[in-house]
């Protein structure tokens, strides 16, 4: 708990860009697990259901903030899709802590942490996400 770093000062913190190569093999393997019927329909665009595989880099963020995974509750996730990511190309994602609030709830005192991530390909924004988690203080 001593290492928990959740103050308003972290709002706006931007994490280094992450790069993922969207190989045909990876996308099809993911589709086989999630929705086998769709794997054969995949052509050159990444289906929207694959985007969670890019994962917003949350583990790095929570490590940085000193938040143990057991204190987390993933409450919501938004995605806005403005363009399709192409298979067999690189995608880049940049995450920023967009908000932090503290409140009392039935879970006890909690933090509400929002992380915004922008996914781009060849400098073009394709997807934006907003992840909200609750962090229990104890």
């Amino acid at each position: 708990m001593e290492s928990l770093n959740l103050t308003r000062e972290i709002v706006g913190r931007r994490y280094p860009a992450r790069r993922n190569y969207l190989s045909d093999t990876w996308v099809r393997s993911f589709a086989q697990v999630v929705c086998p019927d769709s794997a054969g329909e995949i052509r050159d665009e990444v289906p929207e259901f694959f985007i969670p595989a890019l994962r917003d880099g949350p583990f790095e963020i929570f490590n940085d903030l000193g938040v143990e995974l057991k204190r987390l509750l993933h409450v919501s996730q938004e995605y806005a899709y403005s363009g399709a990511l192409k298979i067999n190309d690189w995608a880049e994602s940049v995450s920023t802590i967009s908000d932090l609030k503290e409140k009392s709830s039935k879970l006890g005192s909690i933090y509400i942490l929002d992380v915004k991530t922008v996914f781009t390909q060849n400098q073009k924004t394709c997807v934006e996400s907003l992840m909200r988690v609750f962090v229990r203080r104890s």
Binding site: W26, S29, F30, A31, V33, V34, C35, D37, S38, P47, E48, F49, F50, P52, A53, R55, L69, K70, L73, H74, V75, S76, Q77, E78, Y79, A80, Y81, S82
Partner: protein
């Protein structure tokens, strides 16, 4: 064309720990609470639980199929709420319905008692 409020699709989803190991492998989400009983119990959980984003991905895939049938156009936004944990192994219901808004769909994972576990609201724009 379906009427507002209609349930457009219902199917059963049986999920076991092997499925969760496979999802961890392809997604990189290797939190052991999803596939290791002891790790889950250590954190006060009754047992292994389904990755929330696995359920999200499953629902978004089903939404893609239904939206094609309904000719709703291009997916522009999804809003997902994780309402309750999904123990695994377990059997769940995936349901897609059309709310009041003609350009949207709602997909849900319901547990055996019919309680909501995960909900995805999807908005579409004409192509």
């Amino acid at each position: 064309m379906a009427l507002n409020g209609d349930v457009l699709s219902t199917q059963e989803w049986k999920v076991n720990v092997t499925d969760l190991v496979r999802y961890a492998w392809v997604s990189g989400d290797i939190n052991p609470i999803h596939f290791n009983q002891a790790a889950a119990e250590e954190l006060g959980l009754p047992g292994t639980i389904v990755h929330g984003l696995f359920a999200h991905a499953k629902l978004v895939a089903e939404l893609a199929r239904v939206s094609r049938e309904q000719k709703l156009g291009k997916l522009v936004q999804t809003n997902t709420k994780f309402a309750s944990m999904m123990p695994a192994p377990g059997t769940y219901t995936l349901q897609v319905s059309r709310p009041g808004d003609a350009a949207s769909l709602v997909a849900k994972v319901l547990n055996g008692e019919g309680a909501l576990c995960v909900e995805v609201r999807a908005s579409y724009a004409p192509v």
